[in-house]
Subunit: 340 residues, 2 copies
Amino acid sequence: MNNRFLDACWGKPVDCTPVWLMRQAGRYLPEYMAVRSKCTFLELCKTPDLAAEVTIQPVDILGVDAAILFSDILTPVEPMGLKLDFVPGPVFENPVRSMADVQRLRIPEPEKDLPYVLEAIKILRRELSGKVPLIGFGGAPFTLACYMVEGKGSKDWANIKRMMYYAPEIYSALMDKVTMMDMEYLNAQIKAGAQAIQIFDTWGGILSPTDYEKYVLPYTTRLINGLNRMETPVIHFVKGSGTMLQTVQKAGGDVMGLDWHINLGTARDLLGPGMAVQGNLDPSVLYAPSEVIEQEVTRILDENAGRPGHIFNLGHGILPTIPPENARFMVECVHRISQR
Amino acid sequence: MNNRFLDACWGKPVDCTPVWLMRQAGRYLPEYMAVRSKCTFLELCKTPDLAAEVTIQPVDILGVDAAILFSDILTPVEPMGLKLDFVPGPVFENPVRSMADVQRLRIPEPEKDLPYVLEAIKILRRELSGKVPLIGFGGAPFTLACYMVEGKGSKDWANIKRMMYYAPEIYSALMDKVTMMDMEYLNAQIKAGAQAIQIFDTWGGILSPTDYEKYVLPYTTRLINGLNRMETPVIHFVKGSGTMLQTVQKAGGDVMGLDWHINLGTARDLLGPGMAVQGNLDPSVLYAPSEVIEQEVTRILDENAGRPGHIFNLGHGILPTIPPENARFMVECVHRISQR
């Protein structure tokens, strides 16, 4: 069993820096596209054998040190009562706009409402045994609420911001419910065998540091506090959080995800030695020739300067048009160079 | 003459904090829409009387302390030889992809190729005399190059990043030419009467701090150094630059534009007393009820803590769906609260 990833989450010594890629089971892989061509995106999320198959692909193809469950952050929102579709971006037919809408939302029972997720985790633990650890994941309450209120992706997220400012009681009732759902969902993933949990807060960075602290931090903190994580490290990734890292750190968790907008060395100085970090290569660098990729991997490892608790990753999901051989080369660079 | 804005640019004492709004001549104003309904966006940019009319509207309607020339950052790129259209986002029919494409670009002569911009400035100086100063502006070389290479807006700007990494000689030849164009264009604006210059680097923040320093900073530095700015302060605004402010500061300029992702107090501490700042209200706060707007204005003024050299502004352009009365209320708050 390759334990580099879990050891690094806990700040323990490792033989070389562990590495995985956000969205590593994805469209840039022809092997993924072959599976995906047979069903819709949601069907793939809901079919444990297929979800497990695409989860494992990058472990074999790229040589990464962790697998992350193939799913979507919005999967658990559907059984709350919102009709989900991908066209290809996510769309909810009935977004949440009123207190009545919030009250109609139910808290799913993961074993009953999301059995395919837990089943995929069980299959994966069997099939990955002796290889690499399995990461489970969920969206942070705020990011889920963004989609639930807006009904789809947005440039300025005007609807949820109007709700925050004009109807804070609806906003907090919604966030309470989403946080509760998230807690039960992620604890069920841990119970089914997830060996680490990553919380994705894709949209936390759209707010000012002040609004983040007021409208987001209390819920993420409650979520992380509510996870059964004696042996399960929690990675907290808030995209665009480089200007408010110490505020985000208050939410707790063991590993801070970093996008590519902050120097990793600066981030580590701000966070202190007690927190591991994950990141932070610009995903676009994988478009570059191999000498540039190697140079950037070296630079990030140099910025970490041998401090324990570094998991190498991209600063955001891998782009669909990246050549897989470039991703594989990056993984190889991380292992080779960090051994020096 | 209301000199608050220029005084603050130079770090001089002011009677109250000056304020204007990025994109203040824009779609949120019915008065703007009335003019705009009679012509296309590009026609509006190219008709000095109309451009001057919409430039002045927010001065009268909102009571702001500066006017900014109505134009588009891509206006001067068209006479370089790229065919520009708005559909409604900007599109170039013939993007720049090869060294031959770069060599074909010409450096416009502002007086001959962009007379309507200079004419609008002259009209505005006459009509604004005794009211408020006039800000001229241009896109930073990198942001212009992003559109020129991509041909339109993009999520990941893959084409220009590939050019940076695979064909640095084409990239630098393009950036040299755009920087030269920018310098002549902005100097012509100063000569025609612009009393301050804002450089918009909307996309500088898509790069890591390391890549920004390597691929963007040298060109913006050269541009700012090349401006005839004895009496004309330069505002440098790089969206998403909160994690690399001290790097961006090396480009020079008198005022640093701040988006809303960094606390203004933190930014001032990083930049030191020698540089003024402009910002940094989240544009979405103008969706909020007046008590929230007042509270946020107060918070930002408190963060500045009376330091000289603060121009209040949004952290990005005003959104098209903002009620004009909210913008007016914000301006009134800034003046009233900063007098205390």
